[in-house]
């Protein structure tokens, strides 16, 4: 199974920057005051998904199910 990439649901992101501070790949950055994952750098480690206090980061392809 191909690994999913993390994506930030921008309607849910409250821009605390927690995910950026823990991403070991340095794959998350600010775009228009929301956290955005660069999927070319994401290695699917799940740290950002678990860290987000409101669950705004999900796996690509599963976002509709949540």
């Amino acid at each position: 199974m191909a690994k999913h990439k993390a994506i930030v649901k921008k309607e849910k992101c409250l821009a605390c920057g927690g995910c950026i501070s823990v991403c070991p790949q340095d794959a998350i950055l600010w775009i228009s005051s929301k956290a955005v994952v660069d999927s070319t750098l994401c290695n699917s480690c799940s740290i950002c998904v678990k860290t987000c206090p409101i669950g705004a980061i999900v796996w690509e392809g599963t976002e509709d199910a949540l």
Partner: protein, 396 residues
């Protein structure tokens, strides 16, 4: 554009650095990625009254409530009361952080600092291998800002340090992931900042209630990111609020998320670059409080920038004066509290309850680590084993 120093971030660390640098005559620019200084607020808004001694804030508009102290509730709700002078950096005033930050920025501007909003640092500029400014995105335009010193005051998520090769990525066990409501219409009129501990309350962290006027308070939670899962912080906070009859009718005026580094102090200087505030992990690893440290370190950073500009020397040797000053002043405390954080994370709820039971009648006027430990083990001798690492620290 050429500046002596460009400061990335207009939070307290950035503005205070700018203020003290500008005061020496240095030409200083602050850039802020957001559209308004201090907005959105990302903080529990507690600060020690020690802030008054720095004289960086005018008037009282930034104060929401003056506190008398703190109360800590163990998992079985045993209460410990601490007077404000012993309660650490997080109680004293509950502030309006948006006004607070804007007052600090105003102070910097009054001393001659310039500000650019909607301006995001994208990368460092280098000339002959040396940092000489930043590339930034201002609205839809890319601009080069030349500066002899780049200051990363860009918060917990700091990228400036990483660009200069300083490892700032946090491990999940060194980050508290937070969420807070400002609740109004609550039945809460207390002169205390309250902290609630327990595995089922806030794993690896705590819930706080910081009063903000008579029927309003900041009610928030931080949990250790290594014990977190998607949306867990919100889940635990909502559960806590539902369990408190006094908070149940509360309506939110604000919701915010936050991230708080509870890490060891790091290297904060490189050639032509310094880090200040959350970016330098100048945060108490036990309480997560950092406002007071940001202001103190900002003063040192600004003064060092002044000297560097006067001598036109911007290498790490020159800038190290800043690092030496803040590490001597509170770096050791941060390291010690990091060790205490690790000890506390190992404690189960029962141990925390025993600790609280030993301390509930303790008179905190005689405050020293050793005397507290003595009080603890007199009542609950079995605590002795768990506190051995603490006693080693107290003697060190």
């Amino acid at each position: 554009m050429h500046y002596d120093a460009v400061i990335i971030g207009s939070g307290p660390a950035g503005s205070v650095t700018a203020r003290f640098a500008a005061e020496t005559g240095a030409k200083v620019l602050i850039i802020e990625r957001r559209a308004e200084v201090g907005v959105p607020v990302l903080c529990g808004e507690g600060i020690s009254q020690k802030v008054d001694t720095y004289k960086v804030l005018e008037g009282k508009r930034w104060i929401a409530t003056k506190m008398q102290g703190a109360r800590i509730f163990s998992p079985n709700k045993t209460m410990i009361t601490l007077a404000a002078e012993y309660a650490g950096n997080e109680t004293g005033y509950v502030v309006f952080r948006d006004i607070f930050d804007q007052e600090l920025a105003r102070g910097a501007a009054n001393k001659g600092a310039e500000l650019l909003l909607n301006t995001r640092a994208v990368s460092l500029l280098k000339k002959n291998g040396k940092i000489n400014g930043i590339k930034a995105q201002q609205f839809d335009e890319t601009i080069d800002i030349e500066a002899d010193i780049v200051v990363g005051a860009d918060g917990v998520e700091s990228r400036v340090g990483r660009w200069a090769g300083i490892k700032t990525t946090l491990k999940p066990y060194d980050l508290e992931t937070c969420i807070q409501y400002t609740l109004t219409n609550i039945d809460w009129d207390s002169p205390y900042c309250d902290f609630f501990l327990g595995k089922h309350v806030a794993p690896g962290g705590y819930v706080w209630i910081f009063p903000k006027g008579k029927d309003t308070a900041n009610v928030g939670i931080g949990i250790l990111a290594s014990l977190s899962d998607a949306g867990k912080a919100k889940y635990y906070l909502d559960k806590f609020i539902a369990s408190q009859p006094a908070l149940k009718k509360g309506q939110p005026l604000r919701i915010l998320t936050g991230a708080d580094p509870v890490a060891e102090p790091i290297q904060s200087v490189a050639d032509n670059l310094l880090l200040v505030g959350d970016a330098a992990r100048q945060v108490d690893p036990i309480t997560g409080g950092g406002l007071m440290h940001s202001i103190e370190a900002g003063k040192y950073a600004g003064e060092t920038i002044g000297k560097a500009v006067e001598k036109q020397q911007f290498d790490i040797k020159m800038l190290s004066e800043y690092e030496t000053r803040w590490k001597e002043s509170f770096g050791k405390k941060l390291h010690r509290n990091y060790v205490v954080k690790e000890i506390m994370l190992d404690m189960d709820d029962k141990t925390l309850d025993m600790l609280a039971d030993s301390l509930k009648d303790y008179k905190f006027e005689e405050f020293s680590t050793l005397s507290i430990i003595k009080a603890l083990v007199t009542k609950h001798p079995s605590l002795l084993v768990k506190l051995t690492p603490l006693m080693k620290l107290a003697r060190a």
